[in-house]
Symmetry: D2
Subunit: 346 residues, 4 copies
């Protein structure tokens, strides 16, 4: 059996260590190199005791690999991705650098000119449920943001089917690990525990990813998405509650409409092993550590609004797990390889 050698650039953040956890368990990939400037020279298991089973030293530069995951911040990520691609290494980029097709939008949101616009054409938005065949054939995957994953999967079936008006509300509740590993006042335990708050009301960087992907599903009527994220007192998980108005005459009322809606979702995702349609509201805790996305589509009885709720683990389906799922496709492996562990509950 031919084992693929994988590497992680910037392993020392939460996305990096989650990639390490998943790749270590992958039966057909070997994690052979991890980098991290601040911790270079230290054993991975010394810095992160839960990874003591992985016998690797954190390096300053990536070693010899066949495929690389970059967990660098935006802009810096492009800088490391470009030479890797030139050396023929396949890349999964966890940053925002290759997610948006529109360089002007990138510049507006990230405040810098796009660092490598020539790669945007070959980069594939790494959401296998929408772009599986493109991912299979590419050498550069832009792994989506955590919020967009939950929102797009919740909305794709109804957007594609033209069942809703373009005006959409996305109210997301994220665990604190989404804010990264660097301590800040806003993620200090004493200030976050027993607290919930909205943020990003001035415009969140993940919004254009949502708009771009939903727009591709229904080109003739661009969606208008109002997106408000909330910091929730939990470590992992994103719950996304989406609200939309059904297009005239497109959704049957009552229980029958509800059944049709569920069937639409089940059909849409029938070949996608990491999406499950639920007949009750999903709990983020049921996805803890797993790559599942749980979706509950419903029609509000009092107003007829479409309400769709999705739950993911932001570090797995919202980041590292999704990346491994894409990697499996790139390598011609079954999509679920190494990703079948149930969630850890409770």
């Amino acid at each position: 059996m031919n084992v693929t050698r994988a590497g992680i650039i910037n392993v020392t953040g939460y996305v990096g260590i989650e990639l390490a956890r998943l790749l270590h368990q992958h039966p057909q990939v070997e994690l052979v190199s991890v980098t991290g400037r601040s911790a270079a020279g230290q054993k991975l298991g010394k810095v992160f005791p839960h990874l003591a089973g992985i016998d690797l030293t954190i390096e300053a530069e990536l070693g010899e690999v066949d495929i690389a995951f970059s967990a660098m911040p935006h802009k810096d990520s492009a800088a490391v991705v470009v030479p890797l691609l030139e050396r023929g290494i396949r890349v999964l980029d966890m940053s925002a650098d290759f997610r948006l097709k529109d360089v002007a939008e990138y510049q507006r949101r990230y405040g810098v000119p796009h660092p490598a616009p020539h790669l945007l054409k070959q980069a594939v938005f790494g959401l296998p449920e929408l772009h599986r065949s493109e991912i299979v054939g590419t050498r550069l995957v832009a792994v989506p943001g955590c919020y967009p994953t939950g929102a797009i999967l919740a909305l794709a079936p109804v957007v594609k089917a033209g069942l809703i008006e373009p005006d959409i509300i996305v109210d997301s509740k994220s665990g604190v690990s989404g804010a990264g590993r660097t301590p800040t006042q806003g993620t200090h335990y004493t200030e976050v525990n027993e607290d919930i708050s909205a943020y990003g009301l001035g415009g969140h960087r993940h919004l254009p990813e949502i708009t771009q992907e939903l727009g591709l599903l229904r080109r003739r009527q661009s969606p208008s998405v109002t997106f408000v994220p909330h910091l929730t007192p939990m470590t992992r998980g994103i719950l996304t509650t989406c609200y939309a108005t059904p297009a005239t005459d497109k959704l049957t009322a009552g229980d029958k409409g509800q059944e049709e809606l569920v069937r639409l979702y089940e059909r849409f995702y029938k070949d996608h092993p990491f999406v499950r349609i639920m007949d009750s509201p999903p709990h983020t805790k049921h996805t803890w550590g797993s790559n599942m996305c749980l979706i509950h589509p419903t029609v509000a009885p009092d107003t007829g609004k479409l309400v769709v709720v999705s739950a993911i683990d932001n570090l797995v389906k919202g980041a590292a797990g999704q990346a491994v799922q894409c990697m499996n496709l790139m390598l011609g492996l079954p999509e679920v390889t190494g990703l079948q562990a149930p969630a850890v509950f409770p």
Copy 2:
């Protein structure tokens, strides 16, 4: 100084003990009697160690009082409230029994015929920010539900001013104490911690309170509210995120519109000491144990939607504190009496 004698019926739930905590600190009211069937005969401070400073025994029947708070469940509450009123005792009812003016709606939501429809005319919805003068003159206050308090206060200024279309989304995130003191699978620590979920998608009982009160503010155009509550891993607090579409030409765009919006809210609440308009998104934790409602109104930069976020402590401004505020008005006391302690933070 004439001290008013107050009593609490069913002190053994979370609303009951929060009333006890607040009334014990009130300088012009003396808590003289508390009842609770399951714990009758026991010292209050024995069952609830944090209340050991209150020297009262939990009784089966209410003693001699001038004013009574009923923390009984709906239907049972009306049964105890009616005889109290007949004896001339003023009543603040914490249950849903006298909140809705429409008895058919009550029956639809609570599954029983209204237990005392003849009292609905005199009952006042106990939200002082909207009904202060009526509360001053009544003998029966129906203290609002926790969710409606957060939602109505967030929306009242723009609804009254006719600034938004009637289609409104209310996405609420509540701490677990809102589910009461009786242990259930859904409030078991191990299942709630590190989890968030939506519930009540089939229609929540608090919705008609919101619709009724917003409807009174703008009679010619009844609002249509889609309301989804979420169970959040925290003990206290409700964060309410409201979404609406500005009515045509009613809201100036950009920073100027934002300023006008803030000024509108400040004007609306300028004589209301328990509402504060914030220039950044509020945190529920900043209201812990206090009667404040913090509101942040804003316009989404990408879509122009109105987004208003409010934060309250569900057991204080969402229940017991609001009741004491109403009691102050009924007794001719300054509205803030006994309610000025800052939130306990962090």
Copy 3:
């Protein structure tokens, strides 16, 4: 490859579902039958959404299996275990029924006569680090309690080496899942979160397990253990802090003594893959979902007391993982089979 068919009796508690999670991932065992009276007839994945990948219906009676795990409560467990053994099925009992060798102690702690004293001789205390060879040869393993696992592993090296006086303090801090899945006032989210308390001060049932096992390590001087458990606001994990007085002249002072102590522990556990000796205090979170026990032995600089801290996941190394580890030994498999997933962190 010959696959062993495994079954779980009473899958509906936390130990039961954790066994299901681990057995489902085991490469050489197939989980073929799960029982649970209250949920009989329902799909496992319907009751526990995180287990939806396991296609089993919860049954009233156990199907055909080669090996069975009983997650029944004490006394009831013996009643189901006896007939299984008679049918030649190997059994891992998660209850207390076969842990104590002294039937009088059993009766004193559990308030009932021992239900099957004739089996005590063949039953092996399922702590592989102390009883590996006996486990290999037995048909009945009594899987230890969660507290005893953390305490015994922390103390075994120094007790066996005779390094400490028999007077030992064991101060344990457990997550709430140790209290089981049945909701109670004491495990209600609102009462547990932001709270820590001691319990079992009148004598905890797990104490005699600790005393029995430490006594076997140092027969001439029976240990006297004072054990106080604490309920900690977290879902999983037990941190055990043990205090003892070094026997005269047995422990060198200062840094050299510390090094000798660490070397003693490393030697003791060198062939035991699930114990790791740490050079800094362990965190329960570094064991989340994994079978590791992390131990940090040290000498208090101010008083010369021995202080040993251990961390485990109470549902894994403290219950289900330990049982699978024992099963591996019983089946002649490598001890680590199916148990090598790193902890899920953060």
Copy 4:
């Protein structure tokens, strides 16, 4: 009525804002000045929204006051305290600078020579339950550390009565606010939540305070205290579990001994309104926001060891509340003035 003007130096930490919360509610003291270098010039309520009811601007220098609380770190605190005392202002120092009578011990623990040894004689250790009359007469109170408060109050009665051997174990569990307001990796939400760990095993700075104060109670036999603090996933609260061996023949066995023990504690604290002796293990949550210390003394049934558990709110009885209690004594006010609000529960 003559109102005392109070000031807080370094209001921007958790002890500082808790002092502000309590002083704002004090009926006979007016908080007139607060300082804080990093936030100088800003409104207090802008930086700390829960204190918006206090109309003060954070200053660089303390204004005109009669009494001052210094919440500066050790060493820096002495530097600001000395000139205040010289100006005749009474001072309550929240730092460690004047707690230890032994300057060598101070230097060993804090790594700097004592900054003002000439003041040590007049400084009084601010634990009113042990030093009430000295506090009444002093101008400089050294408010104890949070851990020492919980430990000393738990042990004082038995140490003073000579009921225990000098060898004492103190196992403390603290909420995260004890670590202060500055964000660090160790207090980052994602790393602390669902985790418990020991720290300070190499010797914690609070240990000599415990030893000093217990030593004063029983001069002929200096106690030897092994102290291990634990970081617990909660915001506020310290639970302290103390273990000691009864001195020969000093404690009656069985229920009668238990009763005698409780009576000893009740007698010891009968004139102390902020200590309550409990007949069941205390919960930190029952002290949330209050100045109470709850103590449960008991004898372990299996080993006869004395086990005493105490619970406090580390920011109130462990810091700011204790300081206000001392201030009341210094000002000749009733000890409980401004400190009678019940805990906020749940």
